[in-house]
């Protein structure tokens, strides 16, 4: 257990992670109800990375994300109603319906431009690091998948940050560890060999272990703030069985908190993922075992999250589609 988290922080982290999960479950349900076009890349299974990593950031810190961005938004405290509305293409969405799932952003929470191009945003993280270094405060966090390392710009970005000592945390969510769908084709024996070859400090962490990620990111952020050198963290993840679908289905079922204490009820085709890789179940079970949370507390957290998501869904559905006139607005500032 991480010495760095108080009891309250641990529960808060779990709650945030659960909100990230329930958010995606709402996305699936809205898609199933044909509330929007329904093409998405969900963050389920990654909550143990984005959750603990991003709750630590400060107001001056900047993140850049990718197509798999929903969880990042929720982790940083973006309003889930506005995020869901954006995914559903509504006027009340984060970007007024213009960005959609792939291009959500919220600069008030430190989000820069979000790209759906593989390798589209990692370079912008370099610029955010450059700006924050010039401005004297804040770091930049590049969030990206293992597939991004296939693109040459990633190498250029790593090289630039190392050469110019920019305060950038490269946080790679590598979900090509297990499962049929592999998203990168790197010849490197270890993914971290690439940043290491460019003289960047690297770490590997178990992405299903929220507190391990928390500790690893905390140490890295402290170091980056102190000496303005980039650090690369690879969070290794077993791919969530549902993450390949572009039109999401909930292959592993709606998250059932009772499986935290009732493992015997974990069955079905994807039982292995639920038992060994679901970061939320694992973290809740850990807190329970350590006496850091009771069943009732866990259920109360879940009830709060469900309420929050119900309100978010209601907000999103009530929000109208944007007026056609907006189609030509905001081309230029």
């Amino acid at each position: 257990m991480s010495a760095s988290l108080t009891g309250g922080e641990r529960l808060a982290l779990l709650e945030r992670m659960l909100l990230m999960r329930r958010f995606e479950e709402e996305v699936i349900s809205a898609a199933a109800a044909h509330k929007y076009i329904g093409r998405n890349h969900l963050y389920i299974g990654h909550e143990g990375v984005g959750g603990p990593a991003l709750v630590q950031l400060g107001a001056r810190d900047v993140t850049h994300s990718t197509h798999r961005n929903h969880g990042h938004m929720i982790a940083r405290g973006v309003d889930p109603g506005k995020a869901l509305a954006e995914i559903m293409g509504r006027a009340g969405g984060l970007c007024g319906g213009k960005g959609g799932t792939w291009h959500m952003t919220d600069p008030t929470r430190g989000f820069g431009s979000t790209s759906a191009m593989v390798g589209g945003s990692i370079g912008m993280s370099v610029g955010a690091g450059f700006a924050r270094k010039q401005q004297g405060e804040g770091v930049s966090v590049a969030l990206f998948g293992d597939g991004v390392l296939d693109e040459g710009i990633s190498y250029e970005a790593l090289n630039y940050c190392s050469k110019f000592s920019l305060p950038v945390l490269f946080l790679c969510e590598n979900n090509s560890q297990e499962g049929a769908h592999i998203t990168s084709m790197l010849a490197a024996k270890r993914l971290t060999d690439v940043p290491a070859s460019l003289d960047i400090e690297t770490h590997v962490v178990d992405g299903a272990d929220a507190e391990a990620v928390h500790g690893c990111v905390r140490a890295a952020l402290a170091k980056i703030r102190a000496n303005s050198r980039p650090i690369f963290i690879e969070a290794q993840l077993a791919r969530w069985p549902g993450s390949h679908q572009m039109r999401p289905e909930h292959t592993t079922g709606v998250t059932d908190m009772s499986l935290v204490w009732d493992e015997a009820r974990i069955t079905g085709e994807h039982a292995d993922w639920v038992r060994h890789h679901d970061p939320i179940r694992l973290y809740a079970a850990k807190l329970l075992a350590a006496g850091a949370a009771s069943k009732d507390e866990l259920l109360a957290i879940d009830a709060r999250v469900k309420n929050q998501m119900a309100a978010a869904r209601a907000y999103a559905e009530a929000s109208p589609f944007p007026d056609a006139s907006a189609a030509l607005e905001n081309v230029f500032a």
């Binding site: 293409g89 509504r90 790209s115 191009m117 040459g152 990168s184 790197l186 944007p322 056609a324 189609a327």
Partner: protein, 326 residues
């Protein structure tokens, strides 16, 4: 005659090429064959048969384009599928500076017989980055043939020609055309580049339409016909080379020109076609030429916003009526 989808037409052309020419190899096979609405048996059979020449490379568009060019110069005929056309922007330098220039810079000593295939157009919810149509940019770059098929038969026949061509060819498929059915000649057949196809004859307005806009123009023609307006739908099929003679001939007949293109209007193929007609057939124009195309704005995600700027049959109908003051 066989009835098949646009996607099947392309696959048949590619299959024929793989079968008859051992130098043909596919880079980016998965996203060309899977998820395109083909029967799964057809997909599997394809992989079984040609698997050794169906390659799925890393997400490294730049080196993919370079590699295809190097391989083409060394005797292969690569067929590259980039997937969504905006991914090709990653390979822009390779395509524009290297592939398109190789033959000329070497004074004809080198040839780069390859196909760069990609999916373009407004697909529904693709938002700004997944709805790009780079055809006008490609047309501005010398040395690249440019194909914009609109029917199953054209897709099959033009892809045959593209693979056999000794030049690099950009082949753009609008995603919304993939499932469009059409009649195709039996067996192997090909369609020459640079020959426009009059998809519907008419006397009142020449509608030059590319890619998906051919389908929309034909739908518009049905509506307008009921009002007694006969538009002539001319599909250039290839933009480089462009059959400007056929376009001008049609305008000389109708006296009116509308260009329907889904892509952004500024510095576009639509601008080029109007310019060619203005240069060569100005005297024939009884009314100002008209573009039905996207205004210069990134594409928004929300369906209402997307629809607002997407050129379609209704917008073509309205524009034709305005042209004829009806």
């Amino acid at each position: 005659m066989a009835r098949k989808t646009f996607a099947t037409g392309m696959l048949d052309a590619l299959g024929y090429a793989l079968q008859t020419d051992p130098t043909v190899a596919v880079l980016g096979a998965w996203s060309f064959i899977r998820d395109r609405g083909l029967p799964i048996e057809q997909e599997d059979a394809f992989f079984d048969r040609y698997g050794d020449r169906l390659i799925d490379p890393p997400t490294s568009e730049s080196v993919i384009a370079a590699m295809a060019t190097g391989a083409a110069v060394c005797g292969m005929r690569p067929f590259v599928n980039f997937g969504t056309s905006s991914f090709a922007f990653e390979a822009w330098n390779q395509m524009i500076n290297e592939t398109g220039n190789a033959h000329f810079m070497s004074n004809g000593q080198l040839k780069a017989p390859l196909v760069f295939h990609m999916y373009c157009g407004i697909r529904g919810g693709g938002a700004a980055q997944h709805s790009q149509s780079p055809q006008s940019m490609f047309a501005n770059a010398p040395g690249l043939e440019l194909v914009l098929p609109s029917t199953a038969a054209d897709a099959q026949g033009l892809l045959r020609t593209a693979i056999r061509s000794d030049n690099p060819t950009i082949f753009l498929t609008h995603t919304k055309l993939l499932q469009w059915m059409g009649d195709t000649p039996d067996g192997d057949f090909s369609i020459p580049f640079g020959k426009a196809d009059v998809k519907r004859a008419g006397r009142d307005v020449t509608v030059v339409a590319t890619s998906l806009m051919v389908r929309e123009s034909l739908a518009a023609a049905e509506i307008l016909a009921k009002e007694g307006i006969e538009i002539e739908v001319v599909d250039p099929r290839t933009i480089v080379p462009l059959d400007s003679a056929a376009i001008c001939a049609s305008v000389e007949k109708t006296g009116r020109l509308l260009v329907a293109e889904e892509a952004v209007a500024t510095c576009s193929i639509a601008s080029e076609i109007i310019t060619i007609v203005a240069e060569q057939s100005l005297h024939a124009l009884k009314a100002p030429p008209v573009r039905v195309a996207r205004p210069s704005a990134p594409l928004a995600y929300a369906p209402t916003l997307e629809k607002a700027v997407t050129p379609d049959a209704d917008k073509i109908v309205a524009a034709v009526r305005r042209m004829l003051n009806k």
